[in-house]
Symmetry: C2
Subunit: 961 residues, 2 copies
């Protein structure tokens, strides 16, 4: 077996005819090898004796490779002419005096680079080695055998990259601090990161910076080309010139005129574009076409018609294509170009009934049509069947950072991998395969999401598919790559959990739009859940931190501790803010101590940022600066930290009695108290109720609990309460024959008595039916009774997924089952207490329609009735993007569709059908018409189901877990 | 000129045949004389030599008087047989050896007592001398000449008294502290107070106390009779037995049975009543008839019909009358009896279309029908024309303290004299002249209101009438009586102002129902007004306090300092709470210092109570104990002190720019700021706008104000703001020819710029028309253009009156102008900016209809159109009392009636007609239909009117002031 050892005799070839960028990357890999082995690899000189040699090169740019091919030791035809492919071979004795060799042969510049970085990967070096200072594990006796030999595939997506955007205050300050500006020195770090992550494409920063001017000069662009990084400009900056360039160069006496208008200053603008194309023509680019207004605004005023806009854009496209022919290549088809259907440009592309859009316009032939997401990670329209063979293909501009509507999120990376997996895998299925670009803001703390995005784009077969659990696998492997050297497996497993936990919290609600009113402080225990999760993150992360060596602290803080604790602390802070507000409103004396805890969180937020920005000699300085607390506008303007509410205690001992999950309380006072009835123990799986005895005064109260009911038990029946005491009331259901009703009272001794009626029932329930209690039935979509697949498709469970943790979706993703005769379906069974009307709410992922006709349909039937089809788009007469629905769904990360149904008392069957693409169902809630559910963000917990008989299909997989 | 000197030779007659109570009062008067003169008056023995003698007695109970009458020195026929009348004569040499005499001859026991107390009155002794320890001014050479001789009138109202009620925790604790219970010793103090205030009638305390059992035994009742105090029981306690008596005496083996039910325990209840009548028959009483449920609840359940209730009551009345015949007097007509139409009993009295009520029932012959107020001081139904000659006459049960709906007020007396004047004077006019009783709670701090109520009942000719200014005269004389010895005139004048100011604040809103949301913290400067008034009270009262001698402190604290400062501090506290809340919501850093000021007020409240309860050796101990802060129910249950909201400053210097009277603000930030237009300088009398530069951060901001407009002037144009800076923008209107528009900007240097547009106009306006500005026209009702009187009646201005300070009302109060051909009217003229719809709101005193048919009408016409008549009762299908309208009007102390009118551009004439009784108009507001007035409690300030031409009639009086 051939074998090359990474010992002190390891050498690298060097050829001056190689791409300079390839040689630079080889140097990076030699550094990686040193980090692992402690040996500096030498530079091989032809005919030298060498024990272990790494031969690398690009087809037709390497004499060594040519020689090996001629000798028949290497078959370069397997890579030649292909896109970004490399062969990776371990050979013995390629030449005299060379004992063992690893040959990396790239089909092109980037093929070779990816091949070289593959060495690092095999040695366990993280792509973030230089970006986050992830120090690889030191190893002895490192070698590779020919078991690693292989030929790489062409990447799934041709152009894969990211967009540095919204760069102030974070990225901008970071760059100023370390490089004196957003210049070539700065970009070299970015290029390396991009390439190590298997990307190849970049949209540079453009808020007050000019990629092709600030290098200085063209230096950044030249360096990109050297590294094989394909450059473009952002979605609204045509012809390789940044928007800010025009602001700098315009003027009364400017060649380019003084108006960013293709109407009033056509000649100036054309000249501006032409000069840009000429300037950057020698580099590998994808040229943006089209035109928007300055600073990413609308190109024409509000009074312009759709036709005005489309006519203008048509003229612009024609002009730009002509300029490209004139300056770069008469064969336009060979020049990569893109047009981005961002914001209102989507409308201009599709047009409407009266006005033909740009779709199908010959000027777009060969132009990659870049679709975009809804600003928060759900794709908008996708290629339709008719568009499928569009020459130029399709791209996607995807946000992991946003400065704009419906809300900005620029602080800690908030990407939840399953969302990216589901949306981008579907987009790929829809044919979006030419360009993937993700907006990562300042990059700092976006590393996890960015890694996945680029790995998915590079190899969708590996990281895509129809099983959401692949994202767990990815997270595990990512954790191993970053933390493998740092912590033992037990610690890494804790990291995996923390990563899931904090990104799951963000999937429920992002940082910036958290506030005291999102989660209800008590109802359904949702605030408790957030507090518990946050508390565990903070505790676990702090415990792990103690085990981290100083040299690993940079990676640990930046990739785990800061984003996880920053998130957890912020969530905790807002939950406490909500509690403080509610407690204060109810005059609970505890409000004051909660205010103090809240204050600790506010200070902790600043401390976490400070720690992130000072660790590793201030390496991340700048990255923590984005405002992130209490947005009241779409951006940070007028944002505010939580309020603290302080109460004065009542003048006499005051008791409040409340169920732990209910904001309603009793005082036991004589005139205005409302006795309560607690019915939740009618639910078969509930035999306990927790309730609180709460003080509304600085003077403690003494209480006594009394009951005549033998079946009621209390964890405590008397005492004194200064702040709050939790009591557990339990019912020994084994003693019950039938539904029972009893009462108990809580006396605030000397001041009054609160009266509670308790209802309970034995734990009897029909098998396999979700059971109504407290007036509702809640079913998680994955818990279907039976599943019906058809030839056309089938439902699958997505898990993990969405704000509730799981969902179902009909595959294939791109199939529209609406018009199909047979549709896949899922059947749910439940038991209603009454004949009568129920409000049925479907909670869906907040996807947007894949077509521009504003229809996205779901279908269901109840008890075998005709299939009812509902358009989930609430205002089909206007574009979905930027609608009220879009904004609220994007914030809450849920689409709620409600209908009224008639249930029968007893068993009911609800069937959910595959219908429009993009329908992803998380759960369903039926509420009896006379019932008002307690206000909450996440809704009620799932209803009880008796699983003793034949296990419903939706539970079978879980049963095996 | 005859003359009696109060020197060391002054003596009092003593006759053992006198009423013992009269002799006791004589002793009190002798004590008063000692306080003034320093001389103890001796006791005269018949035939003794005496320089100065006070002869007192009751017609036919005094040998001295008989002798003088026989001698022709006294004409007792002038008083004989009359009700509570006395003659007061200065004589020389009535008998040998007696040089000078003052003869006080009463027609009856109380006539003599009032005559004796008249001596104290003439000496400047306050009726509160022993109640509040108002120490009279020491005087030398005191004498009375025959100029003071006169014969008193019969009192206007036959029975005049008060009700000690809602006595826990205040009165109860006071009585326990000083007398060990609510017993005869305690009542003796009350009887003296009542008689000195010229009252004669008392409803005793009945929460857990029993007047006829706790004396001990009948001692209190006996003592009352001795003093001539006529006793009754409260409105729901028949036959001279308190409600609590039944609770004590009932039981399984009780003679009285064990159920307060006239259905199931008829015999027991009858026996209970009979025994009560027998027990108290020898005393002077007014016997309550009727029956309610225990503890003042409904007698029958909710399911009982109106007829059930009426039939039951008819049976009860008949039974009670028979018992009275049996036990007291066959001649029922000679036995004073009352039935109180309180709460739902009013319905039983009137009945409805289908069910005849008790009205006109023969069992009510000779029974005084007691009407009542709406619980907050506005009378409910009053005797109708048909009822007028009801034998037994009418009474009024009036609340100056309330424990019940719509809200309780038990703390500091909150009576505003003009309300009592207007309502009780009208009631008198309606024939309510037999009994007046006011509920004064614990009496403490109710002294002012109670004094007026009893003085008005005693002499309505003196203190009633149609000019509200009589209440100012009363307040002045009351102030002189209490503080005349304590402070010089300048100080007493300050006291008069304080008294008006604090009771005016309470007329706008009572203590218990104040909260942070009543007054808007900024709009229309209403919070500033409350803060200013409160601040002045606190400052002035503190300054006066320094001048008070220790021995006067008891009266000063109890009658002025505590009620005034307690009120002012509470009002200030809530205004600060509202500011704190708004400031916090807007992230003004000032919120935190306002929270600190608020905290000072909370502590001050406790300190003021403590001072009141400890002054004068703890004499008022108990009286301060009623809860009074932040009621959220009708009573104090679950009440809460204000919240304090604390903010964190923004991370960077943040500017807020806002008009001082507007909650809307600008930040000057780039994306989300909304520039403002300030139009208030279009109003002719406005040439200044105050605005605030406010910090939203702990980091101060630096500002610069810039404008191109030469006519805009700023009090300051640059500086640094840490908390808030007020800037005055002024316009030199003399420079303006026409309406102008200009702009200015305020830069938060380095962070943004706010933009303001200013509109201004020259001060030109048509004469005599109220002018629209900011979209509204507001007219105070007293500012009519012309007044039209008719034979039937005329409008008069009431001032001071109501929450706005003035009003108009058509007199006579009891006339219903609805059906009259000619009605008195007032005409208002105003200028509207537009042709179009305006919302016209009449702000009226929250009176209730005087009849039970739920109609209370106002009438108006605009520009000569037909008179539009509106029923101010919003739900005429249900009783007004306890309606939603009743509750909200009672809290806000205003009735708002809104209609939509069409105005013409330019001059409009609005005529307001006399219509139903009880209509009292305070102001009118017209709002253009597209305008939303800023939220406020008191509404906008009055519109501008150019008064240069012929002065509108409504202004003429003010012009002369």
């Amino acid at each position: 077996m051939s074998k090359v050892s990474f010992d002190n005799r390891l050498m690298f070839t060097y050829e001056s005819k190689s791409f300079p960028g390839v040689n630079k990357v080889a140097a990076l890999v030699r550094q990686d090898i040193f980090l692992v082995t402690g040996f500096h690899a030498g530079e091989y000189k032809k005919s030298e004796r060498c024990k272990n040699l790494i031969i690398f090169g690009t087809v037709d740019k390497s004499d060594y490779l040519k020689d090996l091919e001629e000798k028949g030791l290497l078959d370069l035809d397997e890579v030649r002419g292909r896109w970004e492919v490399y062969s990776f071979q371990v050979l013995d004795n390629p030449w005299d005096g060379v004992d063992h060799a690893l040959v990396v042969a790239g089909s092109d510049k980037r093929g070779t680079i990816y091949g070289l970085f593959h060495i690092s990967e095999l040695l366990g070096v993280s792509p973030l080695v230089n970006w986050n200072h992830v120090i690889p594990k030191k190893r002895k006796n490192v070698f590779l055998t020919d078991e690693v030999s292989f030929i790489s595939k062409e990447p799934s997506v041709r152009y894969r990259g990211f967009f540095i955007n919204d760069e102030w205050p974070a990225f901008g300050n970071w760059a100023m601090e370390h490089f004196g500006g957003i210049n070539a020195e700065c970009y070299e770090r970015i290029f390396e990161l991009l390439l190590r992550l298997k990307g190849n494409y970049l949209w540079p920063a453009m808020w007050n910076s000019n990629f092709s001017m600030d290098g200085p000069g063209l230096e950044s662009a030249r360096l990109a080309d050297e590294y094989g990084v394909v450059m473009s400009t952002s979605h609204h900056e045509p012809c390789m010139r940044s928007g800010e360039e025009y602001r700098l160069l315009r003027g009364e006496n400017s060649l380019y005129g003084d108006d960013w208008s293709f109407i009033s200053n056509r000649e100036g603008i054309i000249r501006f574009w032409r000069d840009g194309l000429l300037r950057n023509k020698s580099f590998e680019n994808v040229i943006t076409l089209g035109m928007r207004g300055e600073r990413d605004s609308k190109i024409l005023g509000e009074e312009a018609t759709l036709k005005d806009n489309i006519d203008l854009l048509r003229d612009v496209l024609k002009t730009q294509n002509n300029l490209i022919r004139e300056t770069i290549d008469q064969d336009l088809g060979s020049v990569p170009r893109q047009m981005v259907l961002f914001s209102e440009v989507e409308e201009f592309f599709y047009g409407n009934d009266k006005t033909r859009g740009l779709m199908g316009d010959p000027e777009l032939d060969g132009v990659t049509l870049m679709f975009s997401d809804n600003n928060v990670g759900y794709t908008r329209t996708l290629p339709s069947k008719e568009m499928m063979d569009h020459p130029g293909g399709f791209g996607m501009y995807y946000h992991m950072d946003m400065h704009g509507g419906p809300y900005s999120f620029k602080w800690i990376g908030s990407t939840y991998l399953p969302r990216v997996w589901e949306q981008m895998t579907a987009a790929y299925e829809f044919g979006v395969r030419q360009i993937w670009v993700t907006n990562v803001g300042d990059i700092g703390t976006q590393e996890l999401g960015l890694s996945y995005f680029l790995d998915l784009a590079y190899d969708i077969d590996r990281w895509g598919g129809t099983d959401a659990a692949i994202t767990e696998e990815y997270m595990n492997s990512w954790t191993e790559r970053q933390f493998g050297a740092m912590l033992p497996l037990s610690g890494r497993n804790r990291i995996k959990k923390i990563l899931w936990d904090y990104t799951s919290l963000l999937e429920k609600r992002r940082h910036e739009i958290m506030n005291a009113d999102v989660y209800h402080p008590l109802h359904f225990g949702e605030a408790d859940m957030v507090l518990r999760t946050s508390g565990e993150i903070l505790k676990e992360a702090a415990a792990l931190k103690k085990k981290i060596e100083p040299e690993d602290m940079s990676a640990f803080i930046s990739l785990l501790y800061y984003p996880a604790c920053g998130t957890a602390n912020l969530m905790k802070m807002w939950i406490l803010a909500g509690r403080n507000k509610l407690y204060a409103r109810q005059n609970r004396i505890e409000a004051n101590s909660v205010a103090d805890e809240l204050d600790v969180c506010v200070r902790c937020d600043a401390e976490l940022i400070d720690e992130y920005e000072t660790v590793d000699g201030g390496y991340y300085k700048g990255f923590g600066r984005s405002e992130h607390i209490g947005f009241v506008n779409w951006n940070e303007e007028d944002d505010r930290y939580p309020l603290r509410h302080l109460v004065y205690g009542a003048n006499s001992p005051r008791m409040l009695v409340a169920r732990a999950d209910d904001e309603h309380y009793m005082t036991g006072l004589e005139w205005c108290d409302r006795p309560q009835t607690w019915s939740n123990m009618l639910r078969p799986d509930v035999d306990k109720v927790e309730f609180d005895l709460i003080s509304g005064s600085d003077k403690p109260f003494r209480y006594r609990i009394k009951t005549d009911c033998s079946w009621l038990e209390f964890s405590k029946t008397e005492g004194e309460v200064s702040v709050r005491e939790r009591i557990t009331l339990s019912v020994n259901k084994a003693l019950l024959d039938d539904k029972v009703t009893g009462t108990f009272e809580v006396e605030n001794i000397g001041y009054g008595t609160a009266h509670v009626t308790v209802e309970a029932a034995p734990p009897l329930a029909p098998e396999g039916l979700f059971l109504e209690s407290d007036g509702y039935i809640c079913i998680e979509a994955r818990h279907f009774f039976t599943r019906k697949d058809t030839k056309a498709g089938a439902f699958k469970v997505l898990r993990p997924y969405g704000r509730s943790g799981s969902a179902v979706k009909a595959f294939p993703s791109s199939t529209d089952f609406f018009g199909k005769k047979s549709r896949p379906s899922l059947e749910y069974r439940f038991c209603a207490r009454e004949n009568g009307q129920y409000e049925l709410t479907f909670e869906l992922a907040p996807t947007t329609p894949v077509t521009f006709d504003k229809g996205q349909f779901l279908g269901y039937s109840l008890n075998g009735s005709k299939v009812k089809i509902i358009n989930t788009v609430k205002q089909p007469d206007r574009p979905f993007f930027q609608s009220v629905q879009w904004a609220s769904e994007a914030k809450e990360n849920v689409k709620k569709v409600t209908d009224t149904v008639k249930c029968v008392r007893g068993e009911n069957t609800l069937t959910f059908y595959g219908m429009s693409p993009g329908i992803v169902l998380e759960k369903m809630v039926l509420v009896r018409q006379d019932v008002v559910l307690p206000q909450s963000y996440l809704g009620p917990r799932e209803s009880y189901i008796n699983l003793e008989g034949n296990l419903p299909e939706g539970f079978q997989e879980e049963k095996n877990e």
